[in-house]
């Protein structure tokens, strides 16, 4: 963890506090004794009064500026646990305990301790981004009845799902895809305003321990995935694909904390040191980090089982290798195996398809205890897709899909009300529970045959519901070339 200080810091407390410098306006000076007095014009007192009131307003506003404690985390997975510093959320206190020991009030919340599961959700999203399926539209088959060769399909295939066709024996297809995710919500909650209430250690002892800290938290997380992929047709009916992703992740978490004095009346017991060195009730905590590197490498095997005149059926196996650094949220930290089935049909320019799969995941510290290094099972995922591809031009294919991920037994954050021990005060809060979630998305994309066997892929992945960690719209662009 590296704590950074603002250049404008006027005071540093515990070397972790950043204080905006407060420009205090000077008060009007008293006239020197004996100085000649001039009668000012009548409008001057009014102007002075207005200026003074404005300046007092500015001073007052500046005095309310809270410290901003900023932390640059070196491991993205720890961004929530390091947000409030190594000791967690501790407020200032001038109260002395019996024996003269100074009081150090520590407050706890599920946000700090359990929101690290955000990392599981985030990496789950990264690895769930399907790789563009290799186009089999460049495969030509012999039509024995007419004695000519025709394209095996009229379309270039789906973008984020699979169809049954393979690319053909000894054929090679390689490409590159760039995807960007900027997460907007989790379980329908705006990531810019997640409420969380921190309660005092041993709050059940009542008294001053009834005080709580309420926080409003914003999480800005942007992930880009650049992936190179290659597919080789081992036989006419068996493909092997490998995808190597490069992940770049940036996360900034800001927590705006306010002391709520439920069980105390004296501010000195629980307070945040204010920018003017006074006793305040607010403080900002910011943690940010960046990481980039190789993500989890994926290997896909696909075998055509049945190939009819108009439809086909294939079985496949996706293997995910834990090559990404899970401590920096570049990978899941666990192997994954996903058998899947793909059915597709070809009715001239219209090709529907259905995919079904089930992903078993191994254990990762992201789902366990980061501090203790204890791994726990990542949730398994059922994956499904229903879509169609439409050839609107010999060189242009439109791909439409509804994609689903059914995540089994995963931590789910939900909004709740926190009722303080005084029985009157109520604050918005979050809580965690385990359950299943069904993330539903749609994909709309184009495959454009630019020249020869070169394809340009463009796709938008649009969230259809609020379940899970979601980006409303995730763009993808890519190119692909088939030999």
């Amino acid at each position: 963890m590296r704590v950074t200080l603002n250049r404008d810091a006027a005071r540093c407390e515990n070397c972790a506090l950043v204080v905006p410098r407060v420009a205090v306006p000077g008060a009007p000076r008293a006239p020197r004794p004996g100085a000649p007095r001039r009668t000012p014009p009548a409008w001057i007192p009014w102007l002075v009064a207005v200026v003074i009131s404005l300046l007092i307003g500015v001073e007052s506003a500046n005095a309310q500026n809270p410290y901003n404690v900023t932390v640059n985390v070196t491991e993205l997975s720890r961004i929530f646990t390091e947000l409030y510093g190594p000791e967690g959320l501790v407020v200032n206190s001038q109260a002395a305990l019996a024996g003269g020991v100074s009081h150090s009030a520590h407050f706890n919340s599920a946000f700090e301790s359990e929101f690290s599961q955000f990392g599981t959700a985030l990496t789950g999203q990264i690895v769930s981004l399907p790789l563009p399926a290799p186009a089999s539209g460049f495969t030509y088959e012999f039509d024995a009845s007419l004695g000519v060769f025709t394209r095996s399909t009229s379309t270039f295939g789906p973008i984020l799902s699979e169809r049954a066709e393979t690319i053909g024996a000894r054929r090679v297809s390689f490409g590159f895809a760039y995807q960007r995710l900027a997460f907007d919500s989790i379980e329908g909650m705006d990531l810019q305003s997640i409420p969380a209430v921190f309660t005092h250690d041993n709050a059940e002892l009542r008294g001053g321990r009834e005080d709580v800290i309420t926080t409003v938290n914003s999480i800005d997380s942007e992930v880009t995935r650049s992936a190179g992929f290659i597919t080789y047709g081992v036989t006419n009916n068996f493909d092997v694909s490998v995808a190597i992703p490069y992940i770049a992740a940036d996360i900034v978490v800001t927590s705006d904390a306010t002391v709520r004095r439920i069980g105390t009346t004296i501010p000195e017991i629980h307070f945040f040191r204010a920018a003017d060195d006074g006793i305040g009730d607010r403080r900002l905590f910011t943690a940010f980090g960046h990481a980039s590197g190789i993500g989890d490498i994926a290997v896909r095997l696909k075998q055509v089982i049945k190939k009819g005149q108009t439809h086909g059926f294939a079985l496949g196996l996706d293997l995910r290798l834990p090559t990404g650094d899970e401590r920096n949220l570049l990978g899941t930290g666990a192997p994954g195996v996903q058998p899947f089935a793909a059915w597709s049909a070809d009715y001239g320019v219209f090709s529907p398809h259905i995919n079904l799969g089930y992903q078993w995941n191994g254990s990762s510290i992201l789902a366990g205890d980061l501090d203790a290094g204890i791994a726990a099972d990542l949730p398994d995922v059922g994956a499904y897709a229903l879509g169609a591809v439409l050839a609107i031009h010999p060189r242009v294919t439109v791909a439409l899909d509804v994609l689903g991920r059914y995540i089994i037994d995963t931590p789910i954050v939900r909004r709740e009300e926190f009722h303080a021990l005084d029985g009157r005060s109520v604050f918005p809060n979050i809580a965690f529970e385990s359950g299943d979630i069904n993330e539903l998305s749609s994909a709309v994309g184009l495959k454009i045959n630019l020249a020869g066997r070169l394809l340009l892929n463009a796709n938008l992945l649009v969230a259809l519901n609020d379940s899970g960690l979601r980006d409303k719209i995730s763009p993808l662009v890519g190119i692909e070339y088939a030999f």
């Binding site: 460049f138 024995a144 007419l146 060769f149 030999f483």
Partner: protein, 96 residues
């Protein structure tokens, strides 16, 4: 007949193809048109492995070597094909 068949495909001549296969359906003609459009060029070497004539019908088993150029890429394919012919008043035509 088989030489005309070769020529129709190599020169992408739908008219010639239709003249030797008069029962061409609309769907089959679309397949032919698409093939001719998708493939830059095609050279065919056909060898008749077996020919059996029974009255006004005949069956030929062929091996063929197609040299295709698709999107600038040359591709050689070897395949076998069985063709059936029928004799009409104007001569032999491809039946299927």
């Amino acid at each position: 007949m088989i030489r005309s068949y070769e020529q129709a495909i190599e020169t992408k001549d739908i008219g010639l193809y239709r003249s030797i296969r008069t029962n061409l359906t609309r769907a089959a003609e679309t397949v032919l048109t698409n093939s001719f459009r998708q493939i830059d060029s095609q050279e065919i070497e056909i060898r008749v492995e077996n020919l059996r004539i029974e009255g006004r019908t005949a069956t030929a088993r062929l091996t063929r070597r197609d040299t295709l150029v698709i999107s600038g890429r040359r591709d050689v394919r070897n395949s076998t094909q069985t063709m059936k012919f029928e004799k009409t008043d104007t001569g032999w035509l491809i039946a299927e």
